[in-house]
């Protein structure tokens, strides 16, 4: 009898812990949503449950002349799409070469990739800044995209190579005997089998520009080239607290789609990460 009671108490304890965690997790999220509904732009008078809630800040973001929100959204979409396509292509090529071919410099190349992967991008920022200004790509989306593509290669190449390594070589050997060339084997045999990891890497690539603010802060100067993260940061940072309600509204509009996609794909993300890591 006491065993049953003990078990019930334990379950109650577990639910209590989970409930406390719920509060801790959800409170900031509800708070920022509540703030976004407050009329007036100042945070000083804003409360979590606004007295007369309105969607005026959401409307302001989309319709006001001073608001660059749509422009930022467009910039971010451009950067994210271009980055995804370019980075994916380059990463798949590299990973395929390292996974399937033996060529001079292969082993050293892998060591170099591994070594570069661990250095924070920030360490080379001054040089990237000067380099971009030398070739006239500072303060441009093209420059931002190129830097994004370059910095994403080492990490993703390892993830994808790890996956390619798990595809049996017999498949490409058989296709080669049947007369398929290098390109055909890659495009028609390997790529269709690698769809799961391609999806994961594409998702990582696409979402990064929505969340990263450091690179745009260094590369981009003029407000019409801002990406969302940078634009929102500046909105809240210019005069602290002055635009916080608008920032809150803008953040909600990014956080909701991203979180949805994330929750939808999280199982694949986890399996992709563990598969890549155990190989790396």
């Amino acid at each position: 009898m006491s065993g049953k009671l003990k078990s019930k108490l334990e379950v109650a304890g577990i639910y209590l812990v989970i409930f406390v965690m719920f509060l801790v997790i959800v409170y900031p999220l509800i708070w920022v949503f509540g703030i976004s509904l407050n009329p007036g732009t100042s945070m000083y008078s804003a409360t979590i449950i606004p007295k007369n809630a309105s969607f005026e800040h959401y409307r302001w973001l989309f319709t006001n002349e001073d608001s660059n929100y749509l422009l930022w959204y467009k910039n971010t979409l451009i950067v994210a799409s271009a980055k995804t396509v370019l980075s994916l292509a380059v990463t798949l090529f590299i990973a395929y070469a390292f996974s399937r071919y033996h060529f001079v410099g292969r082993k050293n190349g892998l060591y170099v990739l591994m070594l570069i992967k661990i250095f924070p991008v920030l360490m080379g920022m001054v040089a990237i800044y000067i380099l971009l200004s030398l070739v006239g790509l500072l303060d441009s989306l093209v420059g931002l995209i190129l830097v994004y593509v370059g910095t994403s290669i080492p990490t993703h190449a390892f993830l994808v190579k790890g996956f390619f390594d798990t595809i049996p070589r017999d498949l490409d050997e058989a296709a080669k005997i049947d007369g398929a060339g290098h390109v055909r084997v890659f495009v028609q045999i390997i790529l269709p089998l690698a769809v799961p990891i391609i999806a994961v890497v594409a998702l990582f690539n696409f979402m990064a520009p929505f969340m990263d603010f450091l690179l745009p802060r260094i590369v981009i100067r003029s407000p019409e080239n801002y990406t969302l993260a940078l634009g929102l940061f500046n909105l809240v940072n210019q005069e602290f607290g002055q635009n916080f309600t608008r920032f809150a509204a803008g953040s909600i509009l990014i956080a909701v789609p991203i979180a949805t996609v994330f929750l939808f794909f999280q199982r694949y993300l986890i399996s992709g990460l563990t598969a890549g890591a155990s190989k790396g």
Partner: protein
């Protein structure tokens, strides 16, 4: 009489690999001696074009690398430095092509003297396509990596040996090489020494405490939610993963506002009933506590998701067998769950530590590394990477930023080497797989 000698006699020629290789000191000549005219012209063309196109560039580049410019106000030392580094990279590539040219001449000559017949141009092309395919695959990525990652890192390393700071910055002034002076300054100049050691110690404390806390919390939650008696697992897991799903900068800026001393929700709504008013952003100790709390909030969800995945892959049989043997719950956790989880995710956990070691976003967005500390060049919550950022973009102390970066790089490389060795010992032949 074996087959090789037969072929030698049949070929009956005196074609010498050594002569071919010596001739190829002038690129392409050896190939022409091998009667592979197209290839020879190609090699000669590539090397010649390289010198014609880049000759002037290389000349200025190497000159700039040595002198960093001579005309004050005209020469931009930074450009010259970059051009110098690009020249070095180009030269390395050219030497690579040159080496291939020598080896190729020798190999072809060896084959010819062994009686091998010259292939047609078409066969040659097919051959080149087979051999060149992996290089073609690697080329675009290699190009990007060289210019976006390697070149900037080399530039950073070079800056550490110059006198590039706010008082001496191009294009107005010229830079010059100062040797290891900057490295010595970190330890000999009091303000640098004091800042360096206080930042380093906080970075270490921050990394260990924040990461260990989030891993423990993630593990604890993963284990209790995995309990058979808990219902609505899917819903619970979805909510617990939320902090990972929300973009980091949104949560961090939200927390920064909530922890605001005067009008933040933490002081005004949560602590007000207790009559507390804590200086979250202005007192060093409280800021550190707040930052660790925020990082645990941000990071535990990922660990939780990861461990949940691992837990589900542990077979029930283990636990049943242990229960039959009379193992207590703690023993079961200690001897079955923990080893499984840590074994499966060790590299990712180490990445979590290195990630926090370099967690610029949180430190900078939460409180810009503040509050400031009197008598040092970094704020009280600055970790090494955010200190480097400040040195670079706020106080324009480029040379010192580079020095600190190199030290950071050495530390991170050390950790990574350790991780690599461990992964190697876990798995045979990791890199060859």
């Amino acid at each position: 009489m074996n087959g090789k000698q037969v072929r030698d006699r049949n070929a009956g020629n005196s074609h010498s690999p050594r002569i071919a290789m010596l001739l190829s000191i002038i690129p392409g000549l050896g190939q022409i001696y091998n009667r592979r005219y197209f290839k020879g012209v190609l090699f000669f063309g590539i090397i010649a074009a390289f010198f014609i196109v880049f000759g002037n560039f290389l000349n200025i580049g190497f000159w700039g690398l040595v002198t960093l410019g001579t005309l004050e106000g005209v020469d931009d030392s930074r450009r010259l430095l970059i051009q110098g580094i690009v020249s070095v990279i180009l030269t390395v590539f050219a030497l690579g092509v040159y080496w291939i040219n020598l080896v190729d001449a020798k190999k072809d000559a060896e084959r010819i003297s062994n009686g091998w017949r010259k292939t047609t141009l078409r066969e040659g092309f097919n051959n080149a396509w087979d051999k060149g395919f992996p290089y073609a695959l690697v080329a675009p990525g290699l190009f990007m990596i060289v210019f976006v990652l390697i070149l900037p890192l080399l530039f950073m390393v070079a800056l550490a040996f110059t006198n590039y700071n706010i008082y001496n910055s191009p294009p107005k002034f010229l830079l010059s090489w100062v040797g290891v002076e900057n490295f010595l300054n970190v330890f000999s100049v009091p303000v640098w020494r004091k800042t360096f050691f206080s930042v380093l110690s906080w970075t270490v404390v921050w990394t260990l405490v924040a990461t260990t806390l989030q891993i423990s919390l993630g593990l604890f939650l993963a284990v209790i939610v995995n309990d058979k008696r808990v219902k609505y697992k899917k819903l619970i897991r979805t909510i617990l993963i939320l902090p990972w799903a929300v973009p980091g900068f949104v949560s961090i800026l939200t927390f920064a506002a909530m922890f605001n001393d005067q009008f933040g929700a933490v002081n005004n709504q949560l602590l007000a009933p207790l009559g507390l008013n804590i200086p979250w952003l202005t007192d060093p100790l409280w800021t550190k506590i707040a930052i660790i709390f925020v990082e645990v909030w941000l990071g535990f969800a990922y660990i939780f998701a990861l461990f949940t995945g691992v837990l589900q892959s542990i077979s029930e049989d283990w636990y049943e067998a242990a229960e039959v043997d009379g193992a207590s719950r703690w023993q079961r956790f200690r001897n079955i769950t923990l080893p499984h989880v840590l074994f499966a995710s060790a590299p990712l956990l180490i990445m979590q530590y290195t990630g926090n070691f370099n967690n610029f976003n949180l430190i900078y967005l939460f409180n810009q590394g503040g509050p400031p500390v009197r008598g040092q060049t970094a704020g009280s919550t600055d970790i090494i990477i955010s200190w480097v950022y400040k040195l670079t973009f706020d106080t324009l102390n480029y040379n010192m930023a580079a020095v600190i970066s190199i030290m950071l790089g050495v530390i991170v490389a050390g950790i990574a080497f350790f991780q690599f060795k461990r992964t190697r010992s876990f798995k045979e032949g990791g890199i060859d797989g």
